[in-house]
Symmetry: C2
Subunit: 249 residues, 2 copies
């Protein structure tokens, strides 16, 4: 068995964050964190989690940017980047001269009118436009309010260039498969724990995994009537998810 979990570190309550990994690790289950975080490198992300008390290493994190780098190398793609400044080091090894594709992440303040027009011009200027998006989230909440997420800007570029983006990140099937490969575990032996009904639960199930939705974070009661996605189980929080899984081993 193994458990993949996706805590959005910035919003996790500390007690749960510290609670989860020791119980799982002591059980012998493998653990992989699947995040769509694209506002920082995995190194930075892991440091933050460690600071919150997590026993976690970079290798235990599956994130869109490294997945995109693999894809870029495999296909000989040279990206024009429209991403957060703090994510740029993740692409250090990638040839970015004379771009033949655009990679878009949650660029936050970098989603300026000028930067969007520039990314658009690169894309529309290609004979066969390739747009790679690090996730397709609609929006997220920060302390100063709701913000448009990468998915919205992805849709803008898709429409303007009449292309369909390749999504690297949840809920893309390849992204979950990559997390499973990193653990060396087949999907039917893995359980996803997440708060997002579509990205976490739907994505994992589409890949053959079971998926548990926590009733914290992004969860809304209306999720339980979702027209397409039905979790294998609900739990009230991460600690309960761990208890439930361990009790059934």
């Amino acid at each position: 068995h193994s458990v993949t979990s996706r805590p959005r570190a910035w919003s996790l309550q500390k007690c749960k964050a510290v609670l989860l990994p020791p119980a799982i690790k002591a059980s012998g289950l493998k653990l992989q964190f699947c995040t769509n975080e694209t506002q920082a490198t995995r190194e930075k992300f892991v440091k933050k989690l460690q600071g919150l008390g997590f026993d976690i290493s970079v290798a235990e994190v599956t994130a869109p940017a490294p997945a995109a780098c693999r894809l870029l190398k495999e296909r000989g793609l040279r990206p024009h980047l429209l991403v957060h400044d703090d994510l740029v080091p993740e692409f250090a090894d990638i040839d970015k001269t004379n771009p033949n594709c655009v990679v878009i992440g949650d660029a936050a303040e970098n989603f300026s009118y000028a930067n969007l027009n520039e990314a658009f011009r690169v894309l529309i200027g290609l004979e066969k436009p390739v747009l790679i998006s690090l996730g397709k989230g609609r929006y997220y909440k920060e302390t100063d309010g709701l913000k448009l997420d990468v998915g919205a800007y992805m849709k803008a570029l898709e429409y303007a260039c009449d292309v369909e983006a390749e999504v690297v990140g949840k809920p893309a099937k390849a992204f979950f498969e990559s997390a499973l490969a990193e653990m060396g575990v087949p999907p039917e032996q893995a359980i996803m724990i997440g708060d997002d009904i579509v990205s976490d639960v739907g994505g994992a199930q589409q890949c053959g995994m079971r998926a548990v939705q926590v009733r914290t974070g992004k969860y809304r009661p209306s999720d339980e009537n979702h027209p397409q996605v039905k979790p294998d189980a609900y739990v009230n929080n991460l600690a309960e998810a761990v208890d439930t899984i361990l009790s059934q081993m």
Copy 2:
């Protein structure tokens, strides 16, 4: 008979601009300019055309902003505006307190990260989000290069809020009907002349008008193989369109 035409003033060669209206006006045909221009008020737009030698009045221009104002008043909608600064005066008579909808135009530099998040927050905060878009163009060309048009940002907000925008402007049927109403002419007696295969030709035909595509401006040879839209005729330029129409009267 009547003729509706859509010159994008900023890009029209002067000789044709001056040529067209006298020939039409002398013929007794009615003339209505259908523009998706939303970077200036109709007043400013008409002044610019007059400066280029056009014999044209504000009443002869059908534009998205006044059409949107009619719609807002009819439905008691109070807009949050995400438009170009120069378009704001067009909404002077409209109650903008406590917004219950968002109106988006080609805001150009006003398409900042902060302004997009603000429009998004208004929209997602409404019980029943209403998004009104002054056109759905994908992009346009300016002297310093290609720019994303209002349609791209409309798609971003549509996706983020899971709504469908109401488009006021070409190719919306209601927009052409409004132009016809202003002339007092039924669609079968009107001819549209335009350079955009979808917005001009397709929109007008959908409304029951005939439509001629000029092989200037936005026209591309690939338009002649468009999978959905087939113009009633092609002409090499506006002058030829006028000659052809007058010779068949």
